[in-house]
């Protein structure tokens, strides 16, 4: 019987193709926009997470000073020392690598090419903790690091700006007033989710930077990479304790340094995209409700148009329940067909949008199921009133209806 009712509903919908599709359009747009919003939101989150993964696996970042966001308290702490990095390396367990690093804005010059970039000084450990791979050439040797030699590895942007298609290995470039020999080029990482070009820097040994460029023995940050499966939260706690001890910070006093694990940054970023996605989806969901009202409207028209048919059915032996089901099923079939079209349109739109925004296309079966369930629910909710109106018709008056 339900199957008969379903077929009947399909036939009624086919009978008024134009009207039915315009009616379903509200649902189609609603479902499609919810799917586009959620899928793109998930894609953005995935991209942020992946980008932060690019920064380095299980990365923990230590900086002097304590910030409480823009306009908040700003404690300027003592700078970090190389000995801090050594202490962390020796006293904290479960670490893969510790890389003290400093950087400075600088002009890189090769021949008549001039590029404004930054120079980062660190050890080979930096490559591990920040997940950099050598694309061409080699990394530093021990003696180059220890001896503070004037060698450099180029980020791919700097390489492109200075050398174009030329092979830079072995060439001499100038950073500020000092000559450096190019020994390698990093594999490109591309833009970060913060919109900065990660490949726009020159990498040199820390000692060379301290001695020949900044003239300071301090470092601006220490990067630490924890082992896989180790809680970065726990490692972060241990580093904080160690640093407080080393800096003689009394109980109850605030840190004058900051330890951040990447999970915090990931959480912060995903929370932002999550809120945005929810907000946009809510707006999209409103159009689902509008679509439902459209369905109710057209079902009411249909009940009036088919009053005689309803009367005939009631006379022939249909119970109120049968008529109710007939119109309810029709509304639900209409809305769920709209839902299916909306899902297909939404997925197509989301995949196009993902390409345009260069975020990954993340297919979420959950949201597809929810969108479908929603469109069915809209059919039931907004179809019920017209269906009940049809079922409650008086058969005699319905038969007399012109």
């Amino acid at each position: 019987m339900l199957w008969e009712t379903f077929l009947l509903a399909l036939r009624e919908i086919r009978r008024n193709v134009m009207r039915s599709s315009l009616t379903a359009l509200g649902i189609i747009i609603g479902v499609a926009s919810v799917i586009i919003m959620v899928t793109l939101g998930a894609g953005a989150t995935a991209k942020v997470t992946a980008d932060i993964g690019e920064l380095g696996k299980n990365l923990i970042h230590i900086r002097p000073g304590q910030w409480h966001g823009p306009g908040g308290a700003h404690i300027r702490g003592n700078p970090l020392e190389l000995s801090d990095a050594a202490a962390i390396e020796h006293q904290i367990p479960d670490l893969i690598a510790v890389a003290p690093a400093s950087n400075k804005a600088i002009h890189a010059i090769y021949g008549n090419q001039n590029w404004s970039t930054s120079v980062t000084g660190s050890t080979n450990a930096f490559l591990i903790v920040r997940n950099w791979e050598i694309g061409m050439g080699r990394k530093f040797s021990e003696s180059e690091i220890k001896g503070g030699k004037s060698v450099c590895i180029l980020g791919s942007t700097v390489k492109k700006q200075l050398f174009g298609g030329e092979n830079p290995i072995g060439a001499m470039i100038r950073l500020g007033r000092i000559s450096f020999k190019v020994i390698g080029v990093f594999r490109p990482k591309g833009q970060s989710s913060f919109g900065t070009d990660q490949d726009d820097f020159v990498f040199i040994p820390l000692k060379t930077l301290q001695r020949r460029i900044t003239g300071k023995t301090t470092v601006s940050s220490i990067f630490v990479s924890a082992m896989d499966g180790v809680s970065t939260k726990k490692v972060k706690k241990e580093i904080e304790l160690l640093m407080r001890e080393r800096r003689h910070i009394k109980q109850g006093k605030e840190d004058d340094f900051r330890v951040m694990d990447m999970q915090e940054i990931v959480n912060m970023m995903t929370r932002t995209t999550g809120v945005l996605t929810a907000l946009l989806s809510a707006v999209a969901a409103v159009s689902l409700v509008v679509g439902g009202i459209g369905i109710m409207n057209i079902m009411l028209v249909s009940v009036t148009e088919r009053t005689r048919e309803i009367g005939t059915r009631l006379a022939i032996g249909a119970m109120e329940r049968d008529v109710l089901m007939q119109f309810l099923v029709e509304a639900v079939v209409l809305s769920s067909l709209g839902g299916i079209c909306g899902i297909l349109l939404g997925l197509a739109g989301a995949s196009a949008g993902a390409r345009a925004l260069s975020v990954p296309f993340v297919f979420k079966p959950g949201i597809v199921a929810i969108a479908f369930a929603f469109s069915v629910a809209v059919g039931i909710i907004f179809g019920y009133f017209p269906a009940r109106k049809a079922a409650r018709l008086d058969p005699i008056e319905a038969l007399r209806h012109e």
Binding site: R15, A315, M319, I396
Partner: protein
């Protein structure tokens, strides 16, 4: 079969339809209209009854009450001994589904639906499986001489043919009673005679009790009994 009839002696004592002092009043206060003013009527199984009368005489109201589409304001209506007044709306729908067939003046076929599907409709509500349903619908269509037109929609059929489809729809479920409300009202005389012949055939051969409302004495002649209504009362019968 014979045994069953003897065992059911109690129930077979009842006439098919028995109205006792039935009234039907519409509206309240000043707008009160008494459509039926105390009807006593008994119809036996196998009869072909014509209900006649001028418009407004209460014949249609009586038919609606008999067909369980309407309920009496007072008085009792026994169908095979069952007090219809005690039944719920759904029970009355089931009574229509399993015991009654209807033919209307305006045919009331479903638009853009083939003759076959129109005839199948009562069987769908009886939950009869598709295969048997189609066979029985075709059989009913051939009984009205339209088995070659089963694919046609009402718009593709003449008035007479439409009413024959409606007749097939009414008798396909082998009802006990077939109610016909001015079945020839929209037809010319030749088509009317065809319809009346079919009704007579259903009554004689298929043993279906027929209750027909008409204002046309020519049509009423086909009936075995004529009941004449006037001002909500039965004026006489012959």
């Amino acid at each position: 079969m014979e045994n069953k009839k003897i065992n059911n002696f109690e129930s077979s004592r009842h006439p098919l339809i028995e109205l006792a002092n039935v009234t039907r009043i519409y509206g309240t206060g000043d707008a009160r209209v008494s459509a039926l003013k105390g009807i006593d009527l008994c119809i036996e199984n196998g009869e072909f009854v014509a209900i006649m009368g001028a418009s407004g005489s209460g014949k249609s109201t009586c038919m609606n009450v008999l067909g369980c589409m309407d309920t009496p304001t007072s008085g009792s209506y026994l169908f095979e001994g069952i007090d219809v007044g005690l039944l719920s709306g759904n029970q009355r729908a089931l009574l229509r589904r399993y015991y009654f067939g209807f033919v209307f003046q305006g045919f009331n076929l479903l638009n853009r639906t083939s003759a076959l599907e129109n005839v199948e409709l009562p069987l769908i509500y009886r939950r009869i499986p598709a295969g048997e349903r189609k066979a029985r619908a075709l059989e009913a269509l051939s009984a009205v001489g339209l088995d070659n037109r089963w694919k046609h929609t009402p718009a593709e059929l003449s008035g007479g043919q439409q009413q024959r489809v409606a007749l097939a729809r009414a008798m396909v479920s082998k009802p006990e009673v077939l109610f016909a409300d001015e079945p020839t009202g929209n037809l010319d005389s030749v088509r009317s005679l065809e319809v009346m012949d079919l009704l007579t055939e259903f009554n004689k051969i298929n043993k279906i009790t027929i209750i027909m409302v008409t204002h046309d004495p020519e049509m009423a002649k086909y009936a075995t009994r004529q009941i004449i209504f006037r001002d909500g009362m039965i004026q006489g019968s012959k």
